[in-house]
Point group: C2
Chain length 243, copies 2
DNA sequence: CGCTAAAACTTGTACGTACAAGTTGAAAGT
DNA sequence: ACTTTCAACTTGTACGTACAAGTTTTAGCG
């Protein structure tokens, strides 16, 4: 299900090539004029593709120089564990199922306000613990409104990527996010899930994801152990750390 | 020092008018064509201004409908690079000076890596505690490379906005940010600064701000009490919560 | 060889046109 | 009174031109 929009096509191609190391981190992309000539697009269209790559943190543009590949990291500046893929390979990440996907009513006291459409539809809920090297780092409890997402419970596997599943199965893309963050003490349940002493400080994060389907939003409640790995993110245009 | 760029001028005007309730939250801005006619600008220029407003969360654009005012000031947007006084009204914020601005060498163990230019220049350092309604919420310790920022120590007042001071005095704008976040226990000093019991969970945040001056970066170390107010932010394009 | 100035790049801003596609409300038809 | 259709909006995409401004390379001069 590829887009027919010219700037999206170019954006996807460049993103794929960055991820595949065709353009390595620190190197410069072909100039806008080169991309125009190669793809037979107007410069404004090429700039639209590059602009999206920049806003998602893949490249940094510098006047007079060019578009420099900044990072291979994924879209959206989600708060993520530092060096989740760099320091430890994805093979060392393990997932423990706490609650397999099931359809249920919404919790009575939910951490975000729901509209009537969502409230009436009920939700799909699942929970999992993600670990690195056997050490539990994150307890994640996710709630999806049960709105026209056929076969979700049957098809989604907890040890795979939730966002990739949404994209492949329903052509759903995450377009934005809001979150609230607290420092909290691990209560007995969280302490047990993350194998911590009760009362240990943990990050508590409530997230609402927006999607490209109007009025469909996804909710996540996270508890994170930051004793070994910090959570990190970046936003805006960050200078290149040369010199 | 206002910008001479047309799209920046329009952006600033619209932002100011949103903050002043000329356009209330939930209402629609004048259409792009109306803005073109009123300001004698091309539509692409108007769209550039609106695009920046959208990326910063002030408006949401919907095809066929218009540009809807989403938020006056990205409420409590502490985790994005907007800064403290922009999110809660400045009238309720009180500031306690812990360390007046002074020139000093960098701390031996600094929380971000410094390049040689920064290391050699030394730093300007100040610390303050910010409270809302008399309740200390945040302990902030800021470090700025002492690079061509004349009169900083003399002119910066701790109870004013740091980012606004940088903009007005040096035409420095914050263009981006990276941060790392932990949940930590308040040590004796932090507990005293934030008037908390020792061991209370607090958010610890290390930030690096990028500016429009190449190679000039600003560093901040924050400790936040989240018992009453959560930290929050948003990124990407978030759906309108209507229905 | 070393320095300077100009040329040849790069991205940024600003203008314009044209049409596609989503939304809304009014007019026309039943 | 109700439904359907259509016209009049809205933003989105894509094309194009021109010049400004920052960076790097090159050519020329002393």
């Amino acid at each position: 299900m590829e887009s027919t929009l010219q700037y999206k096509i170019l954006y996807n191609r460049l993103k794929k090539e960055i991820l595949a190391d065709v353009y390595q981190v620190g190197s410069v992309l072909p100039s806008e004029n080169d991309l125009c000539a190669a793809s037979n697009l107007a410069r404004s269209t090429v700039r639209q593709a590059l602009s999206q790559l920049e806003s998602e943190g893949f490249i940094v543009k510098q006047k007079g120089k060019g578009s420099i590949v900044k990072s291979k990291s994924r879209a959206l500046n989600l708060l993520s564990f530092q060096g989740f893929s760099a320091m430890v390979g994805p093979e060392k990440i393990s997932t423990l199922s706490v609650q397999e996907p099931q359809i249920q009513p919404w919790p009575v006291k939910f951490f975000f306000e729901l509209n009537e459409l969502e409230r009436g539809a009920g939700c799909i809920h699942f929970s999992r613990v993600r670990s690195i090297d056997g050490q539990p780092l994150m307890y994640e409890s996710t709630f999806v409104p049960n709105l026209n997402l056929p076969q979700f419970v049957r098809q989604f596997k907890l040890n795979s990527s939730f966002f990739e599943f949404l994209a492949k199965t329903y052509q759903l893309e995450i377009t934005g996010m809001e979150q609230e963050i607290w420092a909290a003490s691990a209560d007995p349940e969280i302490a047990q899930r993350l194998q911590l002493a009760e009362g240990t400080p943990v990050l508590k994060i409530c997230r609402k994801y927006a999607t490209n389907r109007a009025h469909l939003q996804v909710y996540s409640l996270l508890y994170c152990n930051t004793s070994k790995y910090a959570m990190s993110n970046s936003s805006g245009v960050v200078n290149q750390q040369s010199i």
